[in-house]
C-alpha cells in the first residue's frame, strides 16, 4: 500500500496541477496574512477607543450621582474583535458590533425615563454601495478553493489508470482492491496537504512576525483544530472525487461531473436553500413592529394615565412614575427582544437547512473556532443581557445602602444622589469560551466525519464492483 501511496505522491509532485495549486494557495494565504496585518491593528484600536469612551462616560456619570447612572445606563457596549478573524470573517460587516444600553426616553425637557437595551434593527452595511465580494479568509480558501483543488487531484485517480490500462496491470498483482483504493486516497490526501500546509505555515509565519499581534496558547489550540477540520473537509472532497472517478469510464467525464457537483454543492446550495427557507419562514415587517410598539405603549399609557405627570411630588406620584419608567423601558426592551429572537429563529432555521452542504458546515465550524460570525454574535448579545441585569442589580443594591433614598429607581427625588466610585461600577467584559463552542459544534464535526465515512465506503463499494 505504501508503494502505491508513494508512487501517487511522486506522480503528483511533478505535475502541473501541483505547481499551480501551490502558487494559488500561497498567493491567497499571503494576501490573507497581509490584509490581516493591515486591518487588525485598526480594528483593535477602534475597539479600545470605543471601550475607553465607554469607561469615561460611565466614570463621568458615576462621579456625578447614582441617579444619573440609573437613568443613563452603561452606554454603548462593544464586541471584542477576534484575533483569529483571518480564519473566518463571518460576515462581520453585516453584524452590528455594538449594542446600546442607554438612550433613555425623553418625555419632556426635564423628564427623562430610564435606560434600556436596544439592538440595532438596521443592517450596518446600508451605506455601502461597493460591489460586494467574499472576503478572502481561511473559510474562503478552505471552503471554496481547497475543495476545488481536491477535485482536480482526484478526478482522474482511477479513471485515467483505467484509460491507460495500468489499473489492470496493478490489479493483476496480488494486492487487494481496498489497499489500492486506500493507497491512492492517502497519496492524494498527502499531495494536497503539502501545498496547503505550506501555505498555512507561510500565513502563520507572516502573522506571528508582527509584533503588535499576539496569538496566545488558546489561539494556537484553535488554529490546530481549524487545521484538523480543513483536512477532514478536504478528505470529504477527495473521497467524493475517488467515488466518481471509480464509477466513470473517462476521466474527462469524471471531471465534468465533479465540477457540476462542486458548483451545486459549494456555490449554490448553501445560498439558494437558505434564501428559500428564509423566504418561507415568517419574519416581522418593520411596519408591523411599529404598529405593535404603538399599541403596547398606548396600553401602558392608559394604565398609568395622567397621575404619572401631575406636578405633585408626593410619594405616590413618584412611585407611580418610577414604576412607569421601569415598565416603559422593560416594554421597549421586550419588544426589541421579541423581534430579535424572531429574526434569530428565522436565520437559524435557514442555516439549519443549509447544513446539507459541507461547505456551510465547515464555515460554521471555522467561524465558531475563530470566534467570529453569528454564534459569536449571539454570545455577545447574551453577554450584554447578562451585563444589563448585573448593572441593574448593582444600581438597586447601591441605592439600598443609602438611608436617605426612597429607593425609587429613575426618579431624582427618590434616589440616592451620592456619587459612586467608578471602580465599583461593574464593567462590561466581552468573553467567549472554546468549551462552549465545542459542545455546540460537536454535532457538526460528527456530521462532517460521517459524510467522509459514507463517501469513502461508497468509493470502496464502487471500486470493488467495477470491471477493469
Amino acid at each position: 500500500m505504501w508503494h502505491i501511496t508513494k508512487r501517487e505522491i511522486y506522480d503528483n509532485l511533478n505535475s502541473l496541477r501541483f505547481a499551480l495549486t501551490t502558487v494559488l494557495l500561497l498567493a491567497l494565504m499571503l494576501t490573507n496574512a497581509v490584509v490581516h496585518l493591515r486591518e487588525h491593528p485598526k480594528r483593535v484600536q477602534k475597539y479600545s477607543d470605543a471601550v475607553a469612551r465607554y469607561e469615561n462616560r460611565l466614570a463621568a456619570y458615576a462621579n456625578e450621582s447614582l441617579y444619573l447612572l440609573a437613568q443613563q445606563g452603561p452606554g454603548d457596549l462593544h464586541k471584542k474583535p477576534s484575533p483569529l478573524r483571518f480564519c473566518a470573517e463571518g460576515g462581520d460587516s453585516f453584524l452590528s458590533g455594538t449594542i446600546n444600553a442607554g438612550d433613555p426616553f425623553v418625555y419632556a425637557e426635564d423628564m427623562t425615563g430610564v435606560w434600556k437595551l436596544s439592538y440595532p434593527s438596521m443592517t450596518p452595511n446600508l451605506e455601502n454601495v461597493r460591489p460586494d465580494v467574499i472576503k478572502v479568509d481561511w473559510g474562503f480558501i478552505i471552503g471554496y478553493v481547497l475543495s476545488l483543488v481536491a477535485f482536480l487531484f482526484t478526478f482522474d485517480i482511477i479513471a485515467s489508470e483505467r484509460e491507460r490500462g495500468t489499473l489492470r496491470l496493478m490489479l493483476a498483482n496480488s494486492i487487494p482492491r481496498y489497499t489500492v483504493l486506500i493507497g491512492k486516497f492517502l497519496g492524494a490526501l498527502i499531495s494536497v496537504s503539502i501545498p496547503f500546509t505550506l501555505s498555512i505555515l507561510m500565513n502563520l509565519l507572516v502573522i506571528s512576525t508582527a509584533s503588535n499581534l499576539h496569538l496566545n496558547a488558546e489561539a494556537w489550540e484553535r488554529l490546530g483544530v481549524i487545521f484538523f477540520i480543513a483536512i477532514l473537509y478536504m478528505s470529504l472532497f477527495l473521497a467524493l472525487g475517488v467515488l466518481v472517478s471509480a464509477r466513470v469510464r473517462q476521466s474527462a467525464v469524471s471531471l465534468v461531473v465533479l465540477l457540476l457537483v462542486w458548483v451545486t454543492l459549494v456555490i449554490f446550495m448553501p445560498n439558494t436553500l437558505a434564501s428559500m427557507t428564509g423566504e418561507f419562514s415568517p419574519s416581522m415587517l418593520s411596519g408591523e413592529f411599529w404598529k405593535r410598539y404603538r399599541q403596547f405603549h398606548q396600553e401602558l399609557d392608559e394604565k398609568y394615565g395622567d397621575r404619572v405627570w401631575s406636578d405633585k411630588s408626593d410619594t405616590k406620584t413618584l412611585t407611580a412614575r418610577s414604576e412607569y419608567f421601569a415598565e416603559h423601558a422593560a416594554l421597549d426592551e421586550r419588544l426589541n427582544e421579541d423581534r430579535l429572537s424572531l429574526q434569530i429563529d428565522q436565520f437559524q432555521h435557514a442555516r439549519f437547512i443549509t447544513r446539507v452542504s459541507p461547505v456551510t458546515i465547515v464555515q460554521h465550524l471555522l467561524e465558531s473556532f475563530a470566534g467570529t460570525g453569528f454564534e459569536r454574535h449571539l454570545q455577545f448579545v447574551e453577554n450584554t443581557q447578562r451585563y444589563a441585569r448585573q448593572f441593574r442589580e448593582f444600581v438597586v443594591d447601591t441605592d439600598r445602602e443609602d438611608p436617605k433614598s426612597l429607593h425609587l429607581i429613575g426618579i431624582r427625588e427618590g434616589m440616592s444622589l451620592k456619587p459612586v466610585s467608578p471602580e465599583a461600577v461593574p464593567k462590561f467584559k466581552d468573553t467567549l469560551s472554546l468549551s462552549k463552542d465545542f459542545n455546540t459544534r460537536a454535532m457538526e464535526l460528527l456530521l462532517l466525519t460521517l459524510f467522509v465515512m459514507v463517501l469513502l465506503s461508497g468509493a470502496y463499494l464502487a471500486f470493488v464492483r467495477v470491471e477493469v
Binding site: L16, L20, L24, A27, L28, T31, V35, R38, G91, F94, L95, S96, P120, M122, T123, P124, N125, L126, E127, N128, V129, R130, P131, D132, V133, I134, K135, V136, V145, L148, L152, D156, S251, A252, V253, L255, V256, V257, L259, L260, V263, I267, F268, P270, N271, T272, S275, M276, G278, E279, F280, S283, L285, S286, G287, Q343, Q346, F347, A350, F374
Partner: protein
Amino acid sequence: MLKTLIGRELLDNLMTFRFAAAVFITLLLVVANTVVLLKDYEQRLTAYTTAVQESHEELREEKTYSGYGGALIVHRPPNPLSIFNLGLDKQVGNKIEVYHAFVPTIWDAEKHGADNPFLNLFTSIDIVLVFQGVLSLLALIFAYDALAGERERGTLRLVLTHPIQRGYILFAKYISAMLCLLVPLLISLLLSIILLTTSTKVALNTDDFLRIGGIVLTSLLYVSLFYLIGLCISAITRRTSTALMLCMFVWGVLVLVYPNLILTAVEITPKPDAKISVYNQIKQTWEEFEREKKQFIRNDAVLSRPSRGGEDMDAGFGLEGVEYTFWKDEDKPSILLYFHQTGLYAGKIKAESEPQVPHVQNYYNFYNRETVNIVERTWLVRKPALEAIYVQPANLGRMLLRFSPVGLYDAATEAWAGTDLKGIQDFFSTVQRHRRAVVDYFYDKKIFESRQWFAADKGTVDWDTLPQFSFQRSDTGINAKRALPDMLLLLTMNVILFMVILLIFIKSEV
C-alpha cells in the same frame, strides 16, 4: 464545406454527456433560483405597497404643514429585473424622507419591509450569477478538447488533408459550440420568463423585454469569451488532460479567486480628515444660522419680549394655545448629515395671542426660506464629499473587478437591469427633484409664511394638491448607453482572442 463542418461539430457536441449535464444543471439552478427570487420580489413589492399606503395615510393625519417633516416619505419600488441581476436593489435603502432641511441621497435612505439583517449573511443568487458561474464553466468544458483532443486522436490531421482553410475549421468549431451553449442559456431564460409571467405581481413591459434582450446579448459575449479562452488553451497544449487542468485553474482564478482577492487586498478608503473637515464646515454653517435666527428674534419687538419665552426664544413665543414645541434634527457625521429645525404646534390659538401671530408667521417665513438657502449652500460641499467618500471607492472597486470578464459581465448586466449605482441614483435624483418641487410649491402657495404652518385652527392643510411623486426607470436607451462600454470591452477581448487563436492554430504543426 463549412456547413458540413458545423454539422459534424454540432452533432459531436450535442450527443455528449457533458451537454446533457450542462442543460440539466443550468435549468435546475435557474429554475430553483427564479422561484426564490420571484418570491423575494413579491415580498418586497408587498412591503413596498403597504409602506406607500401607510405613508400616504400618515401624511393625511398631519394637521399643520410643518408636520410634513417625517411624514412625507417616498419609497423606492423594487426593480422587477433585479431577478436577473440583483445589484444594489436590495442592499441600499428604499425609504426616504422628503424635507426642506436636507437634500435626500442614497445614504440618508432607510429600509421599509422585512428587514431581518441576519439574512444578509447569505449571498443572494441571481440568474446572472448562475450564468456567470455555470455557463463559463460549461464553455471551458466544451472548449478544452476542441483542438487538443482532435490532435491527440489524430483526426485533426485527417481533416486538414482536405483542402479547407484552417480558419474555417476554427470558425466551424466556434459556431457549433456557441450554438450548443445557447441551448441551456435560452431554455433556462425562457423558463424563468415563463415563471415570471405566471406571477400576477410582476408586470414586464416592452422596455423590460428589450433590457432582457440586452442581458442575453451580454451573456452571449461572456460565454463566447470563456469558450475562446478554453480554445486558446486547447490550441497551445499538446494533451487534453493538461488543457483541462489549465482551463480549470483559469476558471478558478478568473471567476472565483480574482474578484474576491483583489477587493480584499486593495485598500480603498478615502482620507478620513477630509470627511471630518467637510462635516465641521456643514455644522458650522448651521450653527451660524442658529445665531442668525436668535438675532432675528431679538430684533423683533414682539417676539423678543422676555415674558415670551426668555432663554428659549423659539420655544413657543408665549403663544397661548401651543400644545407642544418640537425639534427635528439629524447628526450623522459618517454621512455628513447635519440639520436642526424647531417648530411648534398649536391646536387652537387663543384670542389674546392673536396679535402675535403675524410676527410668528413672519419669523417662520424667514426661518424656512433661510433653511432652504442653507441647505443649498451645504449641499454644494456635501455632494462632492459624498462622491469622494462613497461613490469613488465603489467605482474604483468596480474598475478593479473589470480586469476579470466576470466583472465586465456583472457591470454590463447590472446596467441593463438598472440595478447598478447609476440606476439607483436615478431614483434619488428624482427624489431630489421632488423635494425641489415641494419646496417650490410651498413658496408659490406661500405656505412657509402661512398660519397653517404651525396652527391647525384656521384653514385646513391640503395635502392633495402637493406635487405627486412618481418614478420611472430610465429609458432602455440610457441602460444601453451605460452597458455599452463594458459590452464593447467584452467584444474587443473576444475579437483579439479569436485572432490570437487563429494565429496559433495556423502556425501550429499537427
